[in-house]
């Protein structure tokens, strides 16, 4: 029975080592960085990226004659393309169950004065001005909205072509037109997205592990306050519950002013 005993103790030692290293990794990550994404968010991104990858690759196999000739199996490729495409909205919809995801979706959807300035600088001086970027810069905000819009349009036009009997030919030709040309635009935009990711290993690490180094926040998203109370809503005053005024009669701006960093407080009337 030495064999069993040896195996058991080996397993136990392995588990201990595994736990230790996991705890060490977590501690070092937490010490070195700030939390940018929760696990729900990293998984939404991962699932979306894989689905999009499959969808784009199968699209290329249907579209470019040289690839089509190599791959063949058109009916199989069409089926994979249809399903990977129609499943694209699923990860973000599941993500809506996470409060952090909803909060970030809200951040991505809204423009503030500095975002317009960020865009102006980007357009005029071809520069990404990190001092005008919150948790997400204006380019990332536009990219997120473009992704949502194009997934919806591609799904709609794709469904028209998927079930040709449900719509008149006139719609089908129009849907093919939109689907084909938007696909080219999406390919270009995704290429840009991947290029920015390749250029910035820390942002990739942020999406892989959820953590980014503190210096990176300062260098890339200067306006983001990961530690501000706003990003972690406390239980008594979460966004899901009706907001009780802390002190009735105190104007909204002044109450906010007190939570804000000192600099802004100085400006408060």
């Amino acid at each position: 029975m030495t064999w069993t005993g040896g195996s058991a103790s080996r397993t136990a030692a392995m588990m201990t080592r595994l736990h230790e290293s996991m705890a060490r990794a977590h501690a070092s990550r937490a010490a070195a960085g700030v939390r940018r994404f929760t696990r729900a968010e990293t998984w939404v991104h991962r699932a979306l990226a894989w689905l999009m990858g499959v969808c784009v690759f199968t699209a290329a196999c249907l579209y470019f004659p040289p690839l089509a000739e190599i791959v063949g199996r058109r009916r199989l490729v069409v089926t994979v393309h249809e399903w990977s495409g129609i499943l694209l909205p699923v990860p973000p919809l599941l993500g809506l169950a996470s409060r952090a995801f909803r909060a970030d979706a809200g951040r991505l959807g809204r423009f503030f004065p500095h975002d317009w300035r960020w865009l102006r600088v980007a357009l005029r001086r071809r520069r990404r001005e990190s001092t005008l970027a919150g948790k997400f810069n204006a380019g990332q905000k536009l990219y997120a909205a473009f992704t949502v819009g194009s997934v919806l349009v591609m799904a709609g036009t794709g469904l028209i072509m998927w079930f040709p009997r449900l719509s008149p030919l006139f719609w089908r030709t129009g849907a093919t037109f939109v689907h084909d040309w938007l696909a080219l635009l999406i390919a270009a935009v995704i290429a840009g997205h991947v290029r920015f990711a390749v250029m910035d290993p820390e942002s990739r690490r942020g999406l892989r592990t959820g953590y980014v180094p503190r210096w990176w926040v300062g260098a890339e998203h200067t306006l983001w306050r990961p530690d501000a109370p706003k990003s972690v809503p406390d239980k008594s005053n979460g966004p899901d519950k009706p907001v009780e005024p802390v002190e009735p009669g105190v104007p909204e701006t002044r109450r906010r002013g007190r939570e804000a960093p000192k600099g802004e407080q100085g400006k408060a009337p």
């Binding site: 929760t38 503030f112 500095h114 939109v178």
Partner: protein
Amino acid sequence: MEDRTPRPVRTPEPLPPPDPEEHGRGTPVGRRLVLGMLGLGAAGVAVGGDVQDKLDTVLASVSAKDPTGVTALLPGGGGFRFYSVSNSIPHRGETDYRLTVGGLVDKPASYRLADLRALPQQRLVRDVQCVTGWRVPKTAFSGVLLSTLLDAAGVRDQGTAIHFSCFDGVYTESLTLDQARRNDMLVALTMNDKPVTAAHGGPVRLYAAPMYFYKSAKWLSGITVTKDVEPGYWEHYGYDVDGWVGKSNGRHDDPTS
């Protein structure tokens, strides 16, 4: 999933200069962009058919003079799109290619490529129209008229239709005898004056000029005269058996022949 650990309010580093931290509601640019794209998408579906028609004309003339071939990759810009029904492109050549003519005929026959080349050749220059919408203008095909092969075999009285089989093992097609005897139905050996490539269904493919291109079976290896029309591969997926360009499949394209 939620990180609920309480955060220390003060940070070890000095606070950065005053900032327009994202307080308030801001401008819902994301929502506007998404709604705008949906609107544009709907408008595109409404006018897309007409726009693509015009683009096709422009792109066809551009790609004819484009040595780089880049325009061929644009939607509608390039001519042929490759819809392969089988798992890979089958290859046959001079030594192993045979075209058999059989079924309800008096003299079944088997032709090698050289035999087909020795027969009278017919050349046709027509537009190629696909049922999915793309059209390639002025494409030349040459080969043996189907009627030449049918006359040589001697169709019996019971024979009213032709079944085409292909050496990829998947593709099949059909024509009625009357359709097959038209003078624009070819057993094609060349396309644009070059031997038909394997990707385009070579060395021998059917070219049914007045019909949508799915009727022009690739990798043709068998012509069988039958009693009734046996619907082919694409017809099983809902396309019309009588695939006249402009008069079938719910389409109104200009006739090609």
